[in-house]
Symmetry: C2
Amino acid sequence: MKIIDGKSISQELRRELKKEVEDLKKQGIEPGLATILVGDDPASQVYVKSKIKDCAELGINSFHNPLPASAGEKDIISLIEKLNSDGKVHGILLQLPLPKGTPQDRCLESINPEKDADGLHPFNLGKLAIAKSWAEIEEQRLLAPCTPLGVMELLERSGVEISGKNAVVVGRSNLVGKPVALLLLSKNATVTMAHSRTKDLQEVCRKADILIAAIGKERFITKDFIKPGSAVIDVGINRSEKGLVGDVDFDSVKDFVSAITPVPGGVGPMTRTMLMKNTILAARKQGK
Amino acid sequence: MKIIDGKSISQELRRELKKEVEDLKKQGIEPGLATILVGDDPASQVYVKSKIKDCAELGINSFHNPLPASAGEKDIISLIEKLNSDGKVHGILLQLPLPKGTPQDRCLESINPEKDADGLHPFNLGKLAIAKSWAEIEEQRLLAPCTPLGVMELLERSGVEISGKNAVVVGRSNLVGKPVALLLLSKNATVTMAHSRTKDLQEVCRKADILIAAIGKERFITKDFIKPGSAVIDVGINRSEKGLVGDVDFDSVKDFVSAITPVPGGVGPMTRTMLMKNTILAARKQGK
């Protein structure tokens, strides 16, 4: 059994990205990420800070744009429009959630899809759905959501074969479940999208050569859900008395799987790194 | 066993749509569809003519815009931009395929997503992927691709239960497979996307309470693929010596299923009708 070490894979990837930034700078391109934080939610502040720190580590310029909690849709969109036309900014990250009552969709949709570092713009998700293969996704330099990209990178770098395999994605969120299903499909997996309304979930999951758990239920996936020899990616981050725990009951399943991500130290570190990768991709695509 | 009669369901729907157009006209809204045909491909000419005829039948204004085969991307996009800002035009249909060498994607993407009668704009597909439920799709009046919408309407009007059922979609095209998977998911099916690289396709299909065949292989689905009592929707239209035949070997499976669409007379008639439905939806959304 192999533990897929997200922390070390993430570090490996960061070293590669750092080099890529250096190469881009030699070509006169200085990748830049603009972050927008509306209000002063403490958790969001921590997230944005860590993203700014990641930029510094990799040599990416960052431009922080705090807005007061009182900022409305108009203020947010007018800031985004300014950043859309700012040549130094290649990626725009609008930290979610927005204060209650602010229409998140309309704000996200005002981001130029080419600068959509989080890969959440409907246009980009649509392009992802349309892409016929992973090669096409790469060729078009599509910006996809960060956590699903992190999942794919973990599978890839752990040598988990995807093509022709049965992948089951449990959970159908826009941030994880649906885009990861599309990405797995683009790599020729047979993909099943399962969720809270699925009947015989255990039986469905036991067909999985690759199981992606993105449900948000503490230790929900036990050995009864597991096909022996499968690879399990645990996207869950649940706060419990024992600290952060995943959607997978690690101890129950670890002796049956061929590979598994721990929580913490699995998917988590990858999500942050994929935001950097998207920013660099966007800079390369914008080519200036 | 019930034969799902696409022709009669389509007629029923047309009667409803005709009434809806009358109601809209009373509110001062005259739904209008602009068709664009580039070149003189005979099959495309037939398709466009039938769409114009459908408009006439339902009281929808149609505006035909032929372009010579020599028209390039610029000509097509400048026509589309004119139609985008034409208040009488609520839906724009760009007949595909475009002449070889013309970038289909960029032309389609120049259509205002609100006027995307075919539901093929990446923005609309992305919104479809993001929608959390069928109710949200209806509430937002999303324009989805016509054949997948037709499939959903057939299931709905034949009383096939979707929620909690296992649906298997064979074929992953952008026109049918992927959007129909998203629509089935929005109605709470557990959805498996299968395709040419799927291993043990028969076994995968035999799990299906609802089987959608969209492969483009003549009579490919035989009784070995069928779970007894399941509902089978045949999207295939293959030209053979015996005329049009589907992807499903109708005679082989008919005694095992609870419901099945014939070819012709199943999904086919629905696709045309859903284009009309989308045009009306677009007119309602644009509200003028």
